[in-house]
């Protein structure tokens, strides 16, 4: 098979710590190639070397039959490698045309931008991808999915031979994902190669041709995806035997607290509304219970969490906490009522990137660590040391800035932030998103342990197996309303999917 890209024997070390050793990657023209691995396996580093963000310490890179001389992201773009990042690097306030044409605007007299021509070309490019939108409108007025497609369209219009997509579906809902997949397939048909990085293994089977697995900075496997199972992929990433995993179940929730009798009522929501995105939400949460919120993106799951945590103001209904009667109206009040809220967006609402692991971990606990305004630093270190050990957080020491940790370890620190306040109610919004398989199971085990200690958990997860195996009860939402409730034991992924499908049917 001819190759478009061949990277071999790539070495890279940061400050003496090796991130890649002898990694390789091989992509054929017109193939969709998956790159998988746990956080910290070296995927991002490898991609950044390819796109000229980092310089390699050793190894060779051949692109399009010649030795690659790419030394900057701009150079990569000119060589025909386009990268669609997780965080889109577009300008939301400017029009779609400006975003697509940025830096390559058609000119009149060599200086003035020929807007008519620019709009026309943009429309032409977008139509190829089946997108029909007003190209004069600000990009930010469209959904994330459309924005992402615009980013891809821009990349392809620059004659990309290879498009790199980093977690492209993490913020898309099901219908948007299928549009994206359509675009990926049309790229492939046009002879463009796609390097596809994703934690959602199910997707890979749908659109990828081959898959490269990385582990600990090495490329451990490269194979056709046909004839591979999900279990094989997980085993490859973890470096474990597939049979072991099969016995243990896919998540750490398996054989959950079915026989634990439910304790006192912790939280009771009645007719809670915060606006069009959440209306008439009812729920009762007991000690030692996990309630799952099911639904698609935008169904009102996060809104329910925000209402309970006092972030969004209630316009109707009431929330009873532990018999207190009043709902917390600020996060601070919610925390002192014994609530913890692990947010969906780790970067924007969770970590404080430049602060240390220690400072991040004790942020919610601060009021309890304080005497006369002074932080009890000895006790603080004690708490942090305890959780680093208990949750197996991989950090050089507790003073390391949290941004230097891998996604899974950042998530564990945030989880510890809430466990440390010794909560009664834990609201977990996508606790394992963007986290590698190993850390995912560890996080699930941590959740299970705290439930066993009597914590009530409200679990939001887009991973069906997590919510199906974990929750005692699933409340299914659609367009801000409760559609149905499912009770475990007896829920399967199948019944949940059917419940969701029904909601789709009703909505239509």
């Amino acid at each position: 098979m001819a190759t478009l890209l061949n990277m071999s024997g790539i070495d890279k070390a940061f400050a003496g710590v090796s991130a890649l050793s002898g990694a390789s990657l091989d992509i054929a023209p017109g193939e969709v190639h998956a790159l998988i691995g746990q956080n910290g396996a070296g995927k991002s580093t490898l991609i950044k070397i390819l796109t000229g963000v980092y310089r390699r310490d050793g190894g060779t890179v051949q692109f399009n039959g010649a030795d690659s001389v790419i030394s900057s992201p701009r150079g990569a773009q000119e060589a025909g490698i386009a990268t669609i990042y997780q965080e889109l690097n577009l300008v939301p306030l400017r029009s779609v045309t400006e975003n697509v044409m940025m830096g390559y605007e058609p000119k009149r007299f060599g200086v003035l931008i020929n807007w008519k021509e620019a709009h026309r070309r943009t429309r032409e490019i977008l139509t190829q991808f089946g997108i029909d939108i007003d190209v004069r409108a600000p990009l930010g007025s469209f959904s994330t999915a459309i924005q992402q497609l615009v980013a891809i369209a821009r990349a392809v219009s620059l004659d990309a031979r290879l498009v790199i997509m980093d977690e492209p579906t993490s913020s898309l809902d099901a219908s948007e994902v299928s549009v994206l997949f359509g675009v990926v397939k049309s790229l492939r048909d046009a002879g463009v190669s796609v390097l596809y990085v994703s934690h959602f293994l199910d997707e890979l089977f749908e659109i990828c041709d081959r898959v490269t697995t990385m582990r600990d900075g090495r490329t451990v496997d490269c194979r056709d995806i046909a004839g591979t199972t999900k279990l094989d992929l997980i085993a490859g990433m973890l470096g474990r035997d597939p049979d072991d995993i099969e016995q243990a179940g896919m998540t750490e929730f398996g054989a959950s607290s079915a026989d634990v009798d439910k304790g006192a009522v912790l939280l009771k929501a009645e007719g809670v509304s915060t606006g069009p995105r959440l209306t008439g939400f009812d729920m009762v949460l007991h000690r030692g219970e996990i309630i799952g919120l099911g639904g698609l993106l935008g169904a009102g799951r996060t809104e329910a969490a925000r209402a309970i945590f006092g972030v969004d103001r209630l316009v109707q209904g009431q929330i009873d906490v532990n018999g207190f009667g009043a709902a917390p109206d600020t996060p601070a009040a919610a925390i002192s009522a014994g609530f913890g809220y692990l947010t969906e967006d780790r970067k924007a609402e969770g970590i404080i990137p430049d602060m240390s692991v220690r400072e991040n971990l004790t942020l919610a606990l601060l009021p309890k660590l304080t005497k006369n305004g002074q932080i009890d630093r000895a006790r603080e270190r004690e708490v942090v040391a305890h959780y680093i050990k208990a949750l197996g957080i991989k950090t050089a020491n507790m003073e390391q800035p949290i941004r230097e940790l891998s996604g899974g370890n950042q998530q564990k620190v945030l989880l510890a932030r809430w466990l440390a306040i010794d909560p009664d109610v834990l609201i977990l919004d996508e606790p394992t998103r963007g986290v590698d398989v190993g850390a995912k199971r560890e996080i699930q085990a941590i959740i299970r342990d705290s439930v066993a200690k009597g914590v009530g958990v409200l679990l939001i997860s887009s991973e069906f197996e997590e919510i199906v195996e974990g929750a005692d009860k699933i409340i299914v939402l659609n367009e801000g309303r409760i559609i149905t409730e499912l009770t475990n034991p007896g829920i399967t992924e199948d019944t949940l999917v059917r419940a969701l499908a029904q909601t789709e049917g009703q909505a239509a």
Partner: protein
């Protein structure tokens, strides 16, 4: 993304790397360079008198720069510091020169120090409420007092220069402790207190958390509004104090000139000292080093007969260099 295996091959030992060293210790290196230059070039530099003059002048910049550092650490900025200096400086002589102040000198002096500081704190409260509760952009919110504060001060004094002779009040600007200016010790004391506040207290932790990621700080129960108001109030009080010191040094209060352009010096000192304009860092002693650098550059040029206007350009170059180093630090 990095693995932390212990068995990995050790890093090859490299020779000393200047880049990272300069980036983390740039301020101290710059200070050392300026000092060595002065010792070699400037006549009579190594004299008690030089030290004395510089300390008495740098103290006000340093005091305001520390307040500014706290505000910047929350991701804000305070343009009103100079105007607050003028206001508080105008109030003090009004009080101790009044009939009440003349009749009860001790009470008069106390009031002449406390009332301006309280007024300055109120200005900070005003800024803080605009920024925290009304969500006005800090640069606009503090522009209000930047424009009106000095105006109020001039109205209070009818635009006159107030001269006075009051040894006990002048101690603020001319007193000596262990042979060095009183205000130098004052600045050092404030620095120590603020350093402890930033490293040991919940308030300090929240300041940095808000600057680092305001959403996260709020969702973790941080009292975002109160802390923001707090830093503007601290900045206001410190500006008020600096205004009093300037008046005390001159034995005269000139509402038109007191604290003029101080906001720029304070921001420059904070940035040279390592504060990040997007927030999340509060190097208190850095602010002092920044203030000293700016003061010394001014002094060096003046002592060597370079004109004042050129000194301004030099200041701009320092700020440029500091921002450049910051950018480099971010990769």
């Amino acid at each position: 993304m990095s693995t932390r295996d212990t068995e990995l091959p050790a890093a090859p030992t490299k020779s000393f790397e200047w880049g990272p060293f300069l980036r983390t210790n740039g301020g101290l290196v710059a200070l050392a360079v300026i000092l060595i230059f002065n010792i070699l070039v400037t006549p009579n530099f190594l004299q008690m008198q030089t030290l004395f003059v510089n300390i008495s002048q740098v103290a006000t910049i340093a005091i305001v720069a520390m307040g500014m550092t706290l505000v910047i650490a929350t991701g804000g900025i305070d343009l009103s510091v100079g105007a607050i200096m003028a206001l508080s400086g105008a109030l003090a002589p009004l009080i101790f020169l009044s009939e009440f102040g003349q009749a009860y000198p001790a009470l008069g002096i106390t009031a002449a120090i406390l009332v301006p500081l309280i007024a300055a704190m109120a200005c900070g409260l005003f800024n803080g409420i605009l920024v925290a509760n009304l969500k006005v952009q800090p640069i606009i919110a503090t522009l209000i007092l930047f424009i009106s504060g000095r105006g109020i001060a001039q109205v209070l004094t009818n635009g006159n220069l107030q001269t006075f002779s009051n040894p006990s009040f002048s101690y603020l600007g001319t007193g000596k402790v262990l042979g060095l200016p009183f205000q130098g010790w004052l600045a050092l004391g404030i620095a120590c207190v603020l350093f402890l506040v930033m490293t040991r207290t919940t308030f300090g932790r929240y300041v940095l958390a808000i600057g680092g990621n305001e959403r996260a700080a709020e969702l973790s129960g941080g009292p975002v509004k109160r802390v923001k108001i707090g830093v503007y109030m601290i900045c206001g009080v410190l500006s008020g104090l600096a205004g009093l010191i300037v008046v005390a040094i001159n034995s005269a209060s000139d509402a038109a000139r007191n604290g003029n352009l101080m906001e720029l010096d304070a921001i420059a000192a904070a940035v040279v000292g390592g504060a990040l304009l997007q927030g999340g860092r509060a190097p208190i002693f850095g602010a002092i080093i920044g203030a000293v650098i700016i003061q010394l550059v001014k002094y060096t040029l003046l002592a060597n007969g370079v004109e004042d206007e050129v000194a301004l350009i030099a200041k701009a170059i320092i700020i440029l260099a500091a921002v450049y180093v910051q950018q480099a630090r971010k990769e």
